[in-house]
Amino acid sequence: MATKWISVREYFKLMATFIFTKHRAQDLLIKLSSILSVLLFWHILLILVFPANTILPTPSEVFIALLDIVTKGDIFAHVFASLIRVVVGFLIATFIGVGLALVAGYYKKVGIFLNPLIEFLRPIPPIAWIPIAILIFGLGNTSAYFIVFMGAFFPIFTNSFFGVNSLPAIYENVARSFEIKKSIFVKEILLKFSLPYIFTGLKIGIGMAWMSVIAAELIGAQSGLGYFIQLNRLLLRTDNVIAGMILIGVIGYVLSWLLLTVEKKIIPWGNRK
């Protein structure tokens, strides 16, 4: 009998790869089963406990509805409408939020002046602005931009402002010693130093922006994913409502992921704060 022996080292190497890959596979399995178990629970609940239910669809019905709206394609106009509103409101919030933070960080008096205003307005949830937005801007995109702006601005501003204020005094001193120009100081030192903080704000801000746009569309819009689920509620198409919710979740996730990717590209010196 020719038993082939492997060396101890090889054995451990093999074990290591086995354990490692097995773990990763296990994690993936656990993640998958967490989603599957919820779907299963949902299914069983409807079939066995509430057999007379006519309002809530089963997971498979939602899946079919999702396939249906995606293949038919009319959902994309709504997705696009929501995305445009988020992008516009978010970009305005980014420019004003970061810009104001830089000014307030550079001119400390401006920071002191803004502080009470920010602290007063910040706790007001973005959706509380919807009635006043509709009164001022009417039912339309401008209202949505405004609501998105209100949702994204505060996390962006407060995090950026915190970053700008955390600039170590030693960097200011070095800049003064080397007689670095104001504009270069703001752009190359103040802004770049604050980027990790700014991105923290942007990542929270994009989530807030996405929530806000859906809320705004639920109430005052004629298009968008929020409008889509509201409309389907009125049409008693609950399968479409939930399919729309799933899309909202997925797109929200993709938006955060996009920002994370941009952050990794823009901050190569490591997020070491």
Binding site: I170, V174, S177, F178, W269
Partner: protein, 244 residues
Amino acid sequence: MLKLKNLSHHYNNQSRNIKISVLEKINLSINEGEFVSIVGKSGCGKTTLVNIVAGYIQPTGGSIFVNAEKVITPGKDRIVINQAHDLFDWMTVYQNMRLVSNDDNDINKYLSMTRLSEFADAYPYELSGGMKKRLSLARALVVDPKFIIMDEPFNSLDYQLREKLQEELLDIVRKSKKTILFVTHDIEEAVFLSDRVIVLSGKPTQIKKEIIVSLPKNRDSSIRDSMEFIHLKNIIKSEIQEVI
């Protein structure tokens, strides 16, 4: 010439509402081309003195002069190599240099002098402690300041590395013909590097003694074992310890 005239400083302790006197009537002149060290125990006010000379804080008494002209703000004529980390972490080695100089020839010259040419594209977090200090030095040299003020630059480094960097520093200073005010609590370091050592002590801190180091200008580590060197070290040690 860099001149400290009747320099005094106290901090206000706000919680106890008292003045804490740190420096008292410091008078000191440093000539062009000189390497002068200031030695004093930790906490005696060395960084305070550096901050005043740099123009970062205003002294509560006395003034600083550069060539008979009073200075109150920081400027390119007096560059500090800080005790704390003072490189821009988000800029590469080259970008750190480029921020203060537009001349690529100069940048390359001083990066090579400090043996950092190969690391031009590295970020500070990728550099060793010694390399970071060399970059701070290269950045100072590239703006051609009248004076370079170094605040315990080798403090955080281990013993062997310190000795090596001290030799390197002497070499660079000789090549670039710079005037250095070097602050340290390490007596041996002060003797090895300097033409003149200023001993600080007392409470509040005053200049206790001024010692001319009459060792040859061209030094290497072997000089540390010489009688003269050990003798100078002992003198300074006794001066610092006399007043406790």
